[in-house]
Symmetry: C2
Subunit: 78 residues, 2 copies
Amino acid sequence: MGHGVEKTELMGIGTKYVIGYREGRKLAVIARKDGTKEIYLFDKDHVAGMEHPSAVLTLDDEESRRLAAVLGGTFFGD
Amino acid sequence: MGHGVEKTELMGIGTKYVIGYREGRKLAVIARKDGTKEIYLFDKDHVAGMEHPSAVLTLDDEESRRLAAVLGGTFFGD
């Protein structure tokens, strides 16, 4: 499962995951110690050489689990 | 697991999941038959009475699985 995901501990904050995305873009998740997860999509700005998040979602623990179930195909309900 | 997620079949397209989000917002995922998943965050526009997506992510099958593992806390690698 390690393939395509880069994990970094952020001391005192939580864990950062960087997920390979298409066309030079990066998907980053900050998993905070309180269970909150922030999802960032970074587009590369080739002119300024800087990265700007173009989509940001903040999810609490429950929302993260629901979204994980839907994305992972393990949601079976109605 | 059905709690907090509303599932709707979109004939010929795939499946739509609407996940309860905070403050009247909605998180929607369209899971297409080809494995692509689109995540939308809708903010309620109380003036126009319409809903506008404020964040949109499109993920292929592999990206979805990686993000699901990170969000669900089942990612163990480095």
